[in-house]
């Protein structure tokens, strides 16, 4: 599943870039994400993703690896996790981009999400919709956090 999102943030690029690397504040914007930990600064992080669709709940302990980093411009990352209770795995390829647009910064995400195992039985459509929702909420939360701080 592929997703693409862009959000305009009324904040300078440097501020947005710094925010991304502030793990705790950044993770706080991801719906369902908790217990974020830095394993290796700038390279490896861990978090737990908890998502719910009706009565179905998944908890993925996730590891996030930063693969590429272009100062103030681009981040390429990969995340993977498994919920053994349900018997499912999640893989996420993420491309984050920043570009200036006047006094605004445009933060873009291109995400490739793969759900394997039992959860996929739930229905590709449901998962796709949920993932889209999560990314949307995330983008809006980042924007709100950055703009709200003046």
């Amino acid at each position: 599943m592929q997703f693409q999102k862009e959000v305009e943030i009324l904040a300078p690029r440097e501020k947005v870039w710094r925010f991304i690397w502030d793990v705790d504040r950044f993770i706080a914007c991801v719906p369902g994400c908790k217990e974020a930990k830095t394993i290796e600064e700038g390279k490896r992080y861990a978090a737990t993703m908890v998502e719910k669709v009706g009565p179905f709940k998944v908890e993925f302990p996730t590891t996030i690896e930063v693969l590429e980093r272009e100062e103030l411009t681009r981040i390429k990352a990969q995340a993977s996790g498994a919920d053994n209770k349900i018997g499912s795995r999640m893989k996420l390829d993420l491309d984050v981009s920043l570009r200036e647009q006047g006094d605004k910064t445009v933060l873009g995400f291109v995400a490739g999400v793969d759900i394997l195992g039992k959860l996929a039985a739930l229905g590709h459509g449901i998962i796709k919709r949920k993932a889209d929702q999560v990314l949307d909420e995330f983008a809006q939360a980042v924007k709100a956090k950055l703009e709200g701080e003046g």
């Binding site: 669709v53 009565p55 039992k118 229905g123 590709h124 449901i126 796709k128 919709r129």
Partner: protein, 282 residues
């Protein structure tokens, strides 16, 4: 094999509500089990307790209650397809119930369970929205009515509070001039697209209600499409049905998956709306 659970067998709605309140997410209402047990077998959900509601009395069966048909939430699809009251007053619902899943699911599965599990690829919700049905939700100290179009909120999500029990479904008895139809399409085990239409025919078409289901996360009423047909003569309405179908297709929140691409489902919505409308007119 299922994981072990404790069976509770309360004998009143108040008791059920109390158990739900006490045990929260670790308990679940169990009626026919046709959806719940499948999810449990897959390991997608786990419960410490199942609350068997089949010992509650007065919650199954169909009767005429003034201006509405009252359907008990514990009525099985089989009971509904055989109900003389439904055959007389709501034949479109009878036809729907006759075609739910297969004979074994109809034997065990209940209308209430179907609505509460809120599986997107289901039939009854869509028609009940078009018929203007209301769901009765009860707990120990209170009772309220929820319109069908507000009851099914999202995939696997209803408007019920955690300790509320769906007890009855009230369907207004259509006027003598009332017409309705439900059509579905699918080649997998569950339907991929479902469209329901209801209106009064008195020279002109009025009180139009259109609902689309199965394609999106929950069935939806489509007021924009209804407005196109409202008050029109039969021929005028038929002339605008393609346009209404396109609007309904977009409103269905269709998503591309194994059941078909988004475009395909939106197209099928249009086809079914036209056919349902024609069927209702005849």
């Amino acid at each position: 094999m299922l994981r072990r659970f404790r069976l509770e067998e309360p004998e009143s709605v108040a008791e059920v509500s109390e158990l739900l309140g006490r045990f929260g997410e670790s308990a679940k209402i169990y009626a026919g089990g046709t959806e719940l047990l499948l999810a449990m077998k897959e390991g997608l959900v786990q419960y410490e307790r199942l609350i068997n509601v089949k010992k509650l009395t007065g919650l199954s069966g169909v009767k005429l209650a003034g201006a509405a048909v009252e359907v008990g939430a514990l009525s099985t699809h089989h009971q509904l397809e055989d109900s003389p009251v439904l055959k007389e007053k709501l034949p479109a619902l009878v036809k729907l119930e006759q075609n739910v899943a297969n004979v074994r699911v109809r034997q065990a599965g209940t209308l209430g369970g179907n609505l509460c599990f809120a599986e997107p690829h289901a039939d009854p919700g869509t028609l009940l929205i078009a018929l203007g049905a209301k769901m009765v939700a009860e707990k120990a100290s209170s009772k309220r009515e929820i319109a069908a179009e507000d009851f099914l909120v999202d995939a696997y999500e209803t408007a019920l509070e955690p300790d509320e029990v769906l007890t009855k479904i009230h369907v207004p008895v259509p006027a003598a001039s009332g017409r309705s139809a439900y059509l579905k399409f699918g080649y997998l085990e569950r339907p991929s697209v479902g469209v329901a239409v209801a209106f009064n025919l008195n020279g002109a078409v009025s009180g139009v209600r259109i609902a689309v289901g199965c394609a999106g996360p929950a069935p939806r009423r489509v007021p924009e499409a209804e407005a196109l047909l409202e008050g029109k003569s039969r021929d005028e309405a038929l002339g605008r049905i393609a346009e209404a179908g396109a609007i309904a297709g977009k409103a269905s929140q269709a998503i591309s998956d194994l059941h078909g691409s988004q475009e395909y489902k939106e197209h099928i919505v249009g086809v079914l709306l036209k056919r349902a409308f024609q069927s209702a007119l005849s």
